[in-house]
């Protein structure tokens, strides 16, 4: 009786696994993208470069948004710490948009994104004299793809050493 029950459960688990693995292969691409995006904000590291050890150079945004995510704020706090340690370094924050918007609006949106990053760096003690802002709108994508993952990589503000 007990053995029977155990067998039955095992069987159930097995079937469930089978169904799941079938699903996984079918939706391989979708899962892959999911692993690199949260909502439609890019969370992967493909395109990220480092200003210093543990200091990522860029933050990512949701479509049409300039709100900093928790991960973005963490990145910017690391950048602020690095900037405090290196007081002679100035930076340019380069704001970008994806290709799914009109050119002129995207120029403004890139500026707004870079400014969101600038404001956050300033609240962590970095003087505005050390930060300039430059928007590229949709003119300089990092990924030339026409898909949600590529667009998520392109919606970004990149901190670049100015000197």
């Amino acid at each position: 009786m007990r053995l029977n029950k155990i067998l039955k459960n095992t069987l159930l688990v097995l079937t469930a696994c089978l169904v799941l693995s079938a699903c996984a292969t079918k939706k391989e691409v979708a899962t892959d993208i999911q692993g690199q995006m949260q909502g439609d904000v890019y969370t992967g590291t493909d395109t990220v470069e480092y200003l210093a050890d543990g200091v990522p150079d860029r933050v990512f945004f949701a479509t049409n948004e300039s709100i900093l995510t928790t991960a973005s704020r963490e990145t910017l706090r690391a950048q602020a710490a690095w900037l405090r340690k290196n007081p002679s370094i100035n930076v340019v924050l380069e704001g970008h948009a994806d290709e799914r918007g009109t050119r002129e609006y995207n120029l403004a949106l890139g500026e707004r994104r870079a400014n969101a990053a600038k404001d956050y760096l300033m609240t962590y003690g970095i003087s505005s004299d050390r930060i300039s802002v430059l928007s590229y709108g949709k003119e300089r994508p990092v990924d030339s793809g026409s898909n949600p993952l590529a667009w998520s990589k392109n919606r970004r503000s990149v901190t670049v050493k100015a000197n």
Binding site: R103, E104, D143, S144
Partner: protein
């Protein structure tokens, strides 16, 4: 470059016939008017002279080819095959045998002749109504031989105007951004060409990113965005002299420039601290005025043709929408209320419509609405297209369209397209490179 050229124009025979042919351009034209463009006749001596000067074997045929091509691309006319013509060009120009032209179903006929007179190109042409067996118009032009293409465009405009009752748009130019290279690192140059794609010239070298060029009303100045020294600023370029200057002294990015209808001001956006507001600068006294003042993004401003109102794009409601205000920034009213996002509003030269780009459910549309936002009409749907610019007669829109790349990110292209206000007659305008941000000049001759 092409100076304001002197074209002597005179009416050969002052006649006033009631036109029997009328082309209705307010509706989609599925039955373009059949018409015959007889090659302009040329005497052998003049032919040889022009062959020497212009390297064209028969300038008469070349000019009529321009006319034929213009009338065909307008979508309103159907130029008939020359092989079917029964009457020789020189004789037809004297007096057409109307029954011959009637036989091939031509409803109108264009004839003319070309002469070489004292180093000048002299062209006369006549427009005939075949059914009424009458001359509708006769004009002659004298100009320097190098202007031969413009003569073709002016004839096209005259014919268009006589048959539709509205000004033409053929003697015009397009300024646009030429694009080359990979999508992630595009090289962009300002370029200018005739409306039919001829006489393409590059105005910048591609050393810095340039965007959104727009003509002034006289079509001799251009305002555009340049990333010169990595500082995105609005610039002013004199096409003839090549002189460039920054517009205003703003501590940050200026963008989305356009001229006021009198050409005296530039209206643009200035972005600072995450906000973009609309400003004007008077080109004579350099006085800068702030027109909007809002924490949102206000951009893509465009004046009404009388200069009293401004339409612009703002996300003050949370998303990109189209607004209209008085020229001093008061009385701001949202006019777009449909589903989706709206951008790039641009006021029609006729004053009654605003063209726009709309993004809805992953598709981009070019459309028009009345200036109060009513009567929205979408003309074309695609993966990506934006930035309509009006033909000077307000009947055609030119815009650019980008393709979707494949899974490897390959296959990107950007091209110029035009479409009639009716939603018909969509066609690609051929450019030597990829192209975007087109802006249509005003009519160069009146």
């Amino acid at each position: 470059m092409t100076k304001k050229i002197l074209i002597l124009l005179f009416i050969l025979i002052p006649i006033n016939v009631n036109a029997l042919i009328e082309v209705d351009i307010t509706r989609g034209n599925l039955n373009p008017l059949p018409l015959a463009v007889s090659p302009l006749s040329i005497d052998e001596e003049s032919r040889k002279d022009f062959e020497k000067i212009l390297k064209k074997e028969n300038i008469g045929s070349e000019i009529s080819n321009i006319v034929e091509n213009n009338l065909r691309t307008s979508g309103l006319f159907n130029p008939l095959d020359k092989k079917a013509f029964l009457q020789a060009p020189d004789i037809a120009n004297l007096k057409p045998r109307f029954e011959d032209w009637n036989l091939i179903k031509a409803q109108a006929l264009i004839t003319g002749k070309v002469n070489y007179v004292e180093d000048k190109l002299r062209v006369e042409f006549r427009l005939w109504d075949i059914l009424a067996a009458k001359e509708m118009m006769a004009l002659a032009f004298t100009t320097v031989p190098n202007n031969w293409r413009r003569v073709g465009h002016i004839i096209s405009d005259k014919v268009y105007e006589r048959l539709t009752g509205e000004k033409g748009y053929f003697d015009t130019r397009i300024i646009y951004v030429s694009e080359e290279g990979p999508k992630t690192q595009r090289i962009k140059k300002l370029a200018i060409m005739d409306q039919d794609g001829a006489n393409n010239k590059f105005l910048t070298l591609g050393n810095e990113l340039v965007l959104t060029p727009r003509f002034n009303p006289a079509s001799q100045m251009v305002t555009y965005l340049s990333y010169f020294k990595n500082m995105p600023r609005v610039y002013l370029l004199d096409i003839e002299t090549g002189t460039q200057e920054v517009v205003g002294d703003f501590p940050g990015m200026t963008f989305a420039p356009r001229f006021s209808p009198d050409g005296k001001k530039i209206i643009m956006s200035f972005a600072k601290d995450g906000k973009s507001d609309i400003y004007t600068m008077d080109l004579e006294n350099r006085i800068v005025e702030k027109i909007t003042n809002h924490p949102s993004i206000d951009t893509s401003p465009s004046y009404s043709p009388d200069g009293k109102y401004i339409t612009f794009n703002s996300d003050r409601s949370g998303y990109q929408q189209i607004y209209v205000m008085k020229k001093d920034g008061t009385d701001i009213k949202r006019i777009s209320f449909g589903n989706g996002l709206y951008g790039t509003p641009v006021w029609s030269p006729r004053g009654d419509l605003i063209a726009f780009t709309k993004l809805h459910k992953g598709k981009f549309y070019i459309g028009v609405m009345r200036t109060d936002g009513s009567g929205e009409r979408l003309l074309t749907e695609n993966y990506y297209q934006e930035a309509p610019s009006w033909s000077p007669n307000g009947r055609v829109l030119i815009f650019y369209r980008e393709t979707k790349t494949n899974s490897k990110g390959e296959g990107f292209s950007a091209k110029l397209w035009s479409i009639d206000l009716t939603g018909y007659n969509e066609r690609q305008i051929k450019t030597p490179t990829d192209a975007s941000d087109p802006s249509w000049s005003s009519l160069l001759s009146n």
